[in-house]
Amino acid sequence: MMTLVRTLLAWIADHWDAIIDRYNALPVVSKVAISTTIALFFFALPILRPPIITTNQIDFGGVMFLVAITALIAVGLNIVIGYAGLLDLGYVGFYAVGAYTTGVLTSHHGSWPFWLVLPVAIAITMISGVLLGTPTLRVRGDYLAIVTLGFGEIIRISAKNIEWLGASAGIKDIPPPNSFGPAATPPFDPGGFFTIPHLEWDGFVPGISETRETAVLIFGVRDAIPYYWLALLALILVLIGDRLIKSSRIGRAWEATREDEDAAELMGVPTFKYKLMAFSLGAAIGGLAGAFKASSQGGFISPESFPLLLSILFVAAVIVGGSGNRWGVIVGASLVAYLPERFRGFEDYRYLVFGLALMLLAIWRPEGLLPPRRARRAKAVEAEIEALQGSDVEAVKDRG
């Protein structure tokens, strides 16, 4: 079983480049068609409720929402760690800044609508990224990790001690995003423009559920799916931006800085500026995820929602998935967010299993499940050289 999984993973990683290349070679129409189909599939996932992957102990829509914001976070952190090579261990701090900004402005000290708060939360998180980055990005490597680690904790402890931010009690009753369409009139009319019934599976036979349905587009307390759609839409937009920026001079400058900061500087790259840009962009995406988290079902955040452990999990998502590859880190984030929820049946052992799974991955695939092309190519050449050296040794032996 293990070997099978391992071989499968290796096969996917080995053929990933070919798949991407083939996709890129397609005409624009086909590309749009394929991307749209894939996107639609993911939008529909919590409605399709496919067997095996659907979580039964806990609301599947809620799990998918969690997966989507974790993926958003991983894509943001990937810019910082994967592209610019800055090890940020305090990323949860930005997540918290985004969430608290939303909480404060929509419920605690104001009653702004969510859609107005969203850009403000992103902007404030971005500014906090610039403020933290300006002094700290002058230090390199391990030191940066320590400083950012401290930042994450400072944010949490400040939130815990500042009365204005709700102290330990946190902020509750954060309103959800404003709905679209007619409002719900309980107990029978779910509101919205129309409703989509969910699928129900009897073994592997699909049927239409009579009890579960999603109203489009009502952000309520009963159904997490609209929240998931919102987060997924944000993820798609961020991914498009990520791709455009990565394949421009900015992406090149990040990579050059990661590879050799001094050489990059001497080739005319203002490395500090680009590091700060990566850091604050990453922060802004973390803040975006935080805003979704704050206004999700339940609408409650407290300092304990942003523990240090979460920072480590985010970094784990990026590393396990393949730091530097945007699809890889999404896979990593999905695993990190999904596995503990899927295996709720194992009670507290699920974290043990999860930890073991991470360890095994680290041993089998230290470069990540889906590493960036550069890592794979470097590895391929290494293997080639090793093979050549091996054959040399053999040849010498034969002669001897």
């Binding site: 931006g241 455009l244 920026i245 421009s248 001079r249 900015i250 090149r252 400058a253 990579e255 050059a256 590879e259 050799d260 001094d262 050489a263 990059a264 500087e265 001497l266 080739m267 005319g268 790259v269 203002p270 490395t271 840009m277 550069r374 890592a375 190519r377 470097a378 050449v381």
Partner: protein, 261 residues
């Protein structure tokens, strides 16, 4: 040769690291369009001299002027934008980027494309990108590694890595190209090809500063030579003059100063 304008003036530069004087009141000019050789035994201060010019070190006293403008306190990437580019003695490529990307990073040095222009693919982004690409491809052709443009820099052979370093430095559009021991580790045939390349680079209109160990290469390719020993300039002149200069011979062959003079 007619007296040409000095593009870079090293004026009485001294550098001390604690008690060690790495450069001691060194002065020389680099003239526009020439190939100047900077030679000297190991530890003579050649690379230190290089590092002052490219802003890696600050001079303890004295001044380096480029196009009449003092370089002190300028950020390193600003110096590159002014028009000084360099290669590294111990190759420092962006290893896990492709050959083409390495050169593109250099070509980006003068790009003014902003974040939003790149994000929304505005016309300036598209023009600049196309120009950089054309420039990078031209330079790869010039140094002769076009065939490998899609390879990771780390996977190139040693000689090709040195060529790529030259292409990357040239991509920044320098007026002065500084090559730090570009022939280190080359066999005679490769050195021959490198000499041809350096001449071609000069013919393209670049001024070249060449730090080199190999006397034959330096004598064969340079217009003038400056000789350093123990951080001091001991000679300056045309290759033929340097070859017969007793102080230089002494420095290289290790004869005592008294015997040589």
């Amino acid at each position: 040769m007619a007296e040409q304008k000095a593009i870079l003036e090293v004026d009485d530069v001294t550098i001390r690291f604690g008690g060690l004087t790495a450069l001691d009141q060194v002065s020389f000019d680099i003239r526009e369009g020439e190939i100047l050789g900077l030679i000297g035994p190991n530890g003579a201060g050649k690379t230190t001299c290089f590092n002052v010019m490219t802003g890696v070190y600050q001079a303890t006293s004295g001044q380096v002027r480029f196009d009449g403008r003092p370089l002190a306190n300028l950020k390193r990437h600003k110096i590159t934008k002014l028009g000084i580019a360099r290669t590294f003695q111990n190759i420092r490529l962006f290893k896990s980027m492709t050959v083409l990307e390495n050169v593109m990073v250099g070509a980006d040095a003068h790009s003014k494309v902003s974040f939003f222009e790149a994000l929304f693919r505005l016309p300036r982004h598209r023009h600049t990108e196309a120009e950089s690409l054309a420039r990078a491809e031209y330079l790869l052709e010039l140094v002769g590694i076009t065939a490998r443009h899609d390879e990771l820099a780390a996977n190139l052979s040693y000689g090709d890595q040195r060529r790529l370093e030259i292409a990357r430095a040239m991509a920044t559009g320098p007026k002065l190209l500084c090559l730090d021991e570009p022939a280190a580790g080359f066999n005679p045939a490769e050195k021959q090809r490198l000499m041809e390349l350096i001449r071609r680079v000069r013919d393209e209109g670049y001024t070249v500063l060449l730090i080199e160990h190999d006397m034959r290469l330096v004598m064969g390719v340079t217009d003038r030579i400056v000789v350093l020993e123990f951080g001091k300039k001991i000679a300056e002149g045309a290759p033929a003059e340097i070859r017969d200069n007793p102080a230089v011979i002494a420095a290289y062959l290790g004869v005592d100063e008294e015997d040589a003079s």
